[in-house]
């Protein structure tokens, strides 16, 4: 029954609440274009519907699909494999025959209509203007629009562009409405970036100047939710990566990876084999940089002086299973069997679940990368002496020499082994961060290995009472 999967254009993995956890670049980009994030709820409506259906009926399904990414129609064929509860309850997505074609709108008029409908639905502030662009009414849906409503109450009938700053437009106003349609703007009392849409209300028969306008203000980003956790006491500049650089660098990197991937997969047309290889190298390098960026941002958080973790009850067997579920696809690619020993609820630690999972994912993905194809990785949770519990991740790889064992948890140390899984993508920060996290939770991370005999990594944590 197993089909060769050499022509799968993109894979993805969702969890039990239909959040996309992992996605190959084309799928990740489509998710982003549809307004979603990674990880985040699957934002491609056509795929979300199929994923929900597959989960509901618990069967592997296969359907042709098409989706609009804002510019073009994306079409292909998607196979969805729902995974059992024990594997996390999500779905695996395999997209074949990825194809991009110009949006199949009957006319540019239909497309404009479609885009107008989107803007109307997503506008958070709507105003009615008269023919001279003076404000008649205002409707506000979001909290940060209240400032504009107040300003308007103080100056009824004002020219809208006197209330709302238009940084890109230097001319004295009022300008012709066509020049203002689509302009970036600043709403008083709001920190977000906004865009203005001016839609004329035409007199029947048309041909003359409009009777008035519908002014839609659309925010470029959602209103930030109040931070759930108290802000850590760190200096502003010490969070350079996490706050500023990561978001700024992520987008161009995603784009580089996506375009290189497009070239590699010859989606834009036939290409010489050598160039495909170069494109694959570019895509790999971009992915490596993106990974490094994540690690650096993480490192900054973990190394900050005020860093603390939660102390909740964590079922280590459950955490191990979740990590295995997330990495199942990668393991299957390399024909590596992942075994979790122990029953749920038998080994409980006092730690932060999210961080434990992060460490386990790091350990298991290392084990997958450094094991020979067709071997097995064993993950077991045990109770050790003096009130502690531990998870042990054991692989059948080449092992680590004694001198390297000493340096393995150092910053920028890259395990010193040759990854069997092709290009080595590590930043050399993963184990360093993992150990810092273990220490922050009152535990430890250690390794036992001899050359030629595989490696066992042990994450020790305080036991839950």
């Amino acid at each position: 029954m197993e089909q060769a999967e050499s022509f799968v254009a993109a894979r993805g993995l969702t969890d039990e609440r239909d959040r996309l956890l992992i996605a190959d670049t084309p799928l990740a980009l489509l998710q982003e274009r549809c307004g979603g994030s990674l990880p985040g709820t699957l934002a491609i409506p056509e795929l979300l519907e199929q994923v929900q259906h597959a989960r509901a009926i618990g069967l592997r399904i296969a359907r042709a699909f098409s989706a609009f990414d804002g510019e073009d129609m994306i079409s292909g064929f998607v196979r969805i494999n729902p995974r059992g509860i024990e594997a996390g309850g999500g779905c695996e997505l395999l997209v074949e025959s990825w194809q991009r074609s110009p949006a199949a709108f009957a006319s540019s008029h239909a497309l404009a209509h479609y885009l107008d409908a989107i803007d109307r639905a997503s506008a958070e502030i709507t105003l009615r203007l008269d023919a001279r662009q003076h404000v008649q009414t205002i409707g506000v849906l979001s909290a940060d629009g209240a400032g504009l409503a107040d300003a308007l109450a103080a100056q009824p009938g004002a020219l809208w562009s006197d209330l709302i700053a238009l940084p890109d437009i230097a001319h004295r106003r009022p300008l012709h409405w066509r020049l203002l349609d689509g302009a970036a703007c600043e709403v008083p009392g709001s920190a977000r970036n906004w865009r203005a849409r001016l839609m004329p209300i035409a007199e029947y028969g048309g041909g003359r100047e409009p009777l008035g306008f519908e002014l839609l203000l659309i925010a470029d980003e959602p209103l930030a939710e109040e931070a759930a956790l108290p802000a850590p006491a760190t200096r502003e500049d010490s969070r350079l990566f996490a706050r500023t650089l990561t978001p700024a660098l992520r987008q161009p990197l995603t784009r580089i990876a996506a375009n290189a991937e497009t070239i590699r997969a010859r989606l834009a047309g036939p290409l010489h084999q050598d160039y495909c290889h170069y494109a694959a190298t570019i895509a790999n390098a971009a992915q490596h940089l993106a990974g490094l960026l994540d690690d650096l941002a993480d490192l900054e958080v973990v190394e900050a002086p005020g860093f603390t973790t939660l102390a909740e009850e964590v079922d280590l067997v459950d955490a191990a299973r979740k990590a295995v579920g997330i990495l199942g696809v990668r393991a299957r690619d390399r024909r590596i069997a992942l075994h979790v020993a122990g029953a749920d609820g038998t080994v409980l630690a006092r730690a932060e679940f999210r961080r434990v999972l992060q460490i386990l994912i790091n350990l298991v993905s290392n084990a997958i990368a450094y094991s020979p194809e067709g071997s097995a990785v064993w993950i077991s949770a045990v109770t050790t002496e003096n009130e502690r519990v531990a998870v042990i991740v054991r692989d059948e790889g080449p092992g680590i020499s004694a001198e390297r064992v000493l340096r393995i948890f150092e910053k920028f140390e890259r395990l010193g082994r040759d990854s069997a899984g092709g290009s080595d993508k590590g930043s050399g920060l993963g184990l360093y961060i993992a150990r810092l996290l273990a220490h922050a939770m009152g535990g430890d991370l250690s390794v036992i290995s001899r050359e030629g005999e595989g490696a066992s990594f042990m994450l020790e944590l305080p036991r839950a009472d």
Partner: protein, 315 residues
Amino acid sequence: MGTFSADHAAQLRPGHLLAAELARSQRAAVATLPVLRHLLASDGPSLVSEAVVARVRGMLRDLATQLHAGGRGLAAVSEHAAPEIDALVVQLGVHEALLAHIHTLALESQLAERFEQRLSLDPVLSPLLQELIASDDQAVAELAMNVLAAQTRFMQSQRRMELPLAELPADLFRTALQIGANRDQPGSPAGLAALMASYDEAATRLALLERLVVAMRRAVVACLAFDRAGLALFAQGLAALAGMERAGAIHACHEQQSPRLALGLRAAGLDLAGIERQMLLIAAPGGWLADIAEITPQQARARLGELDAIALERG
């Protein structure tokens, strides 16, 4: 399903049992003549011929037998299981979408055999499929190979009037399993669970055909040359290009449905000459064919949608 619960209620009041039974036999008697007349009158091609009915019945029975075996293999079915299998056949036949699907399969295999006689068009390996198997594009070649294997199995099982459970589309597969699980005498739940776990819609013949057509990308127009593509690929390509269901495309290839075929071809973007060429291969067009040129592809698509809506209302 409604009649079942009504009968059940009647059983609670014994006086009504006879009345209900009489009403049922009366309905059956009234329905006999139109059905008989239809079968007699359409000795030649008909959407419901005896051969099609026999195939539908055979496939329903095969599905029922597999459900009864519950994943244990057909050898496990004892000879004494016949009454239970009969009951399953009735329950499966009540489900309209399942019945429609099976009818379409019977029609497809019958049409394929007829085109083999008339146009010497192999029902399994058409010239286009042969070309696709030799394609430079590895994905297309691999899918085409899988389609060839699936199509061979399909024609073979049609001759034996069989239908493997795992060949059903996901929703119908689930329906069938639910019917199988709801029996008075539950089989092995583990067997049904194993059937569910091994099911993969992507491996069914219909999904493989769809995957192949999607993988062909713009070359899918090649499917619209009936004498090169063969019925299976033609219907799949027509469905993709005209925005119809594949079942609708199969039905459209029947002699009695030629206007619908013309409409479908128009919706797929063919011009009058192209439509005429295909129609001559598939079904003799009537004098109305020239009218097709007046309809734009968009209008044709809309008309097809209206026809489907009417069919749904009746259903």
